[in-house]
């Protein structure tokens, strides 16, 4: 499978919290991303989406497991190889306000990555900055301004331009639109789609906005309490979700047409998301799952292929 750019195997990221407690933010996650595609990663707040994205980029060191980038183990990279990885894999952050250094001009922010990875002359750099600003739909004279002078949408475009500055192949989009106004969200998402077509980028698109994920993703992964519960093609997951949690999640998507919305059945579940520090044994969703049986409490369900390209982690999900 040479067209896999990213392959994540049994990735774990645990944080020590207080005395002897461990927060399992990412718990044995397995997934892969093909070259040129967008993998959407959805789930509730605190389910480990962001940590997963950051661990893949080695912004956090993984507790265990592997991230293969072009077949090479990211955690074993050193020196030049690591630098090359940092050039090829970039990230766009959720918060466009705190992710830009307030003491630097936009030009400096965009140029800093280039300084690390390329040997452009000052002139080439200026030209490149202007080109990048244009490609995210901004004028080149923004280069001399500071982040605080810009609106949220403009800042997020700078965040995108900054990530593109080093010509990456892979970008983790970590909730890039959740801090923006609805009117700006579509612009930014369409910009991301346009850039992907032009440059052949691969995206990991993290979001809790299901409609937006459906719009941009080729495949979608669903996370619950640090574990991946379902992974399949975008169309399939919205039309034929198999995991009980995914079913609940999909039934909660609001529909624009009130007549259809009225007919739609919304599945309701009881209780709150358990604390990731004291997660339930076995299947983590069992405490809220209507189909839970004894086996769910004893065995952790493995992600298995129930249909070609459709992976589900549930004991009660039969193969088709």
């Amino acid at each position: 499978m040479n067209d896999r750019l990213i392959e994540v195997k049994d990735l774990c990221k645990f944080f020590k919290v207080g005395k002897g407690n461990t927060l399992k933010a990412v718990d044995h996650v397995n997934l892969y991303i093909n070259k040129g595609e967008t993998l959407g990663l959805v789930g509730e707040s605190g389910c480990g989406k962001t940590t997963c994205g950051r661990t893949i980029l080695r912004l956090y060191d993984a507790t265990s497991g592997q991230v293969l980038f072009d077949g090479k183990d990211v955690s074993k990279m050193r020196g030049k190889e690591l630098l090359e990885f940092k050039k090829r894999a970039q990230i766009i952050f959720q918060d466009p306000y705190s992710s830009l250094d307030p003491r630097m001009t936009i030009g400096e922010i965009i140029a800093e990555g280039m300084d690390v990875h390329t040997n452009y002359t000052a002139k080439e750099k200026d030209a490149k900055i202007a080109e990048l600003l244009n490609s995210v739909g901004m004028k080149e004279d923004f280069a001399n301004r500071f982040a605080h002078e810009l609106s949220g949408g403009q800042r997020q475009r700078i965040g995108i331009a900054r990530a593109l500055a080093v010509n990456p192949d892979f970008i983790v989009c970590d909730e890039p639109i959740s801090a923006l106004d609805v009117s700006i969200q579509a612009q930014v998402v369409n910009l991301l789609i346009k850039l992907q077509r032009e440059r052949g980028l691969t995206y990991l698109f993290i979001s809790h906005d299901l409609s937006m994920v459906r719009h941009i993703s080729d495949r979608v992964g669903v996370m619950y309490l640090g574990s991946l519960v379902e992974l399949t093609k975008s169309k399939e997951i919205f039309e034929n979700p198999r995991h009980p949690y995914t079913k609940v999640l999909m039934s909660a998507i609001p529909v624009a047409d009130p007549e259809i919305d009225g007919e739609k059945k919304r599945i309701e579940i009881k209780g709150e998301v358990p604390s990731p520090i004291h997660a339930p044994s076995g299947c983590k969703f069992r405490t809220r799952c209507p189909y839970a049986t004894e086996v769910c409490a004893q065995e952790i369900p493995k992600l298995r292929e129930v249909k070609e390209g459709h992976f589900v982690a549930c004991h009660h999900c039969n193969e088709e």
Partner: protein, 309 residues
């Protein structure tokens, strides 16, 4: 920008005027006067002549106007206690001594404090952090006079390495600089640590790491630069503290600095000296604030625009 500067200078003058006025009347409300003790034994006429010489026979408000008139012309008058010495001259003679001791202490103390703060932040909850915070707590809690006596006892009396007090040789400066600098070390270590921890949690630090910058470049270029900014504010008051905060230290080490004279002028009700030094301190403080505000504008782009008009 120009308009802003003019505005600030006008405010400065008003503040100074208020400080001078308040000090003048507060000082005069203290019982006794500079001539009281020595004039008791003098004949009536001589006494009256002395009072007339310093204008102390005039109504209070007239004296106030006279003083203000002098102040406008930068004439702070003559010391009452030390006849023939002008207050301006005394300040010019004693403040460089204070500045030298205090300035050295501040620079060395700040540098050490900043470095310790950085170490504490980067090694949070490990032994370097604990050691630094222990030093910081000591520095914040041990009174200057205790530290000064301890230093004098250990290094001058017991070991005999350094002179206990006095002024004139470079070795005279070592102990006072350590005593005064210790406070700066403590203040800046704590301040920089919390400021660094705050900055380290910002997303733009993660952005810098994502760009592929080395950890050193991330710390120096992004974390430290943004963490030093809040420290600029306390630095301004520390600079004034170089002069004001040195009362005790100068007294204990017999350094003929401005703090030493300020204390003795208050003890003797030396009106012109008290007024002169207070106005000097106030002016220094206000000027430092202006300098800091300008420094902020240079260092922090976010302020540059909003305060331009």
């Amino acid at each position: 920008m120009f308009k802003y500067t003019i505005k600030r200078i006008c405010y400065m003058i008003i503040t100074l005027f208020a400080v001078a006025t308040i000090t003048f009347f507060l000082m005069r409300s203290i019982p006794g006067d500079p001539l009281a003790s020595m004039a008791r034994t003098l004949p009536e006429q001589t006494k009256a002549n002395y009072y007339a010489k310093y204008g102390l026979d005039q109504p209070l408000f007239t004296q106030y106007l006279m003083y203000m008139k002098g102040l406008v012309h930068f004439d702070l008058g003559e010391s009452i206690l030390y006849a023939g010495r002008s207050v301006t001259g005394e300040i010019a003679r004693t403040s460089p001594i204070s500045g030298m001791v205090g300035g050295t202490a501040l620079i060395i103390g700040t540098l050490i404090g900043v470095v310790l703060g950085i170490i504490a932040a980067l090694k949070k909850n490990r032994w370097p952090d604990y050691i630094v915070m222990f030093i910081a707590i000591l520095g914040a809690t041990i009174p200057v006079f205790v530290l000064a006596s301890l230093m004098q006892y250990v290094f001058a009396v017991k070991l005999g390495w350094l002179p206990a007090s006095g002024w004139g040789k470079p070795s005279n400066m070592v102990l006072p600089v350590i005593v005064m600098g210790f406070g700066s070390v403590a203040t800046y270590a704590r301040y920089i640590k919390s400021s660094m921890l705050d900055t380290l949690g910002q997303d733009y630090v993660l952005t810098a790491r994502a760009k592929g910058l080395s950890e050193r470049a991330v710390i120096l270029k992004h974390v430290l630069r943004n963490s030093l900014l809040p420290a600029v504010t306390i630095f301004s008051s520390s600079v004034v503290g170089v002069f004001t905060g040195a009362f005790v230290t100068e007294k204990m080490f017999s350094i003929p600095g401005i703090g030493f004279y300020y204390v003795s002028s208050i003890n003797n009700n030396d009106y012109t000296m008290i007024m002169g030094t207070t106005v000097f301190y106030a002016a220094l403080f206000i000027i430092m604030q202006l300098v800091v505000d300008f420094a902020y504008m240079i260092l922090d782009p976010r302020i540059r625009v909003s305060s331009g008009d």
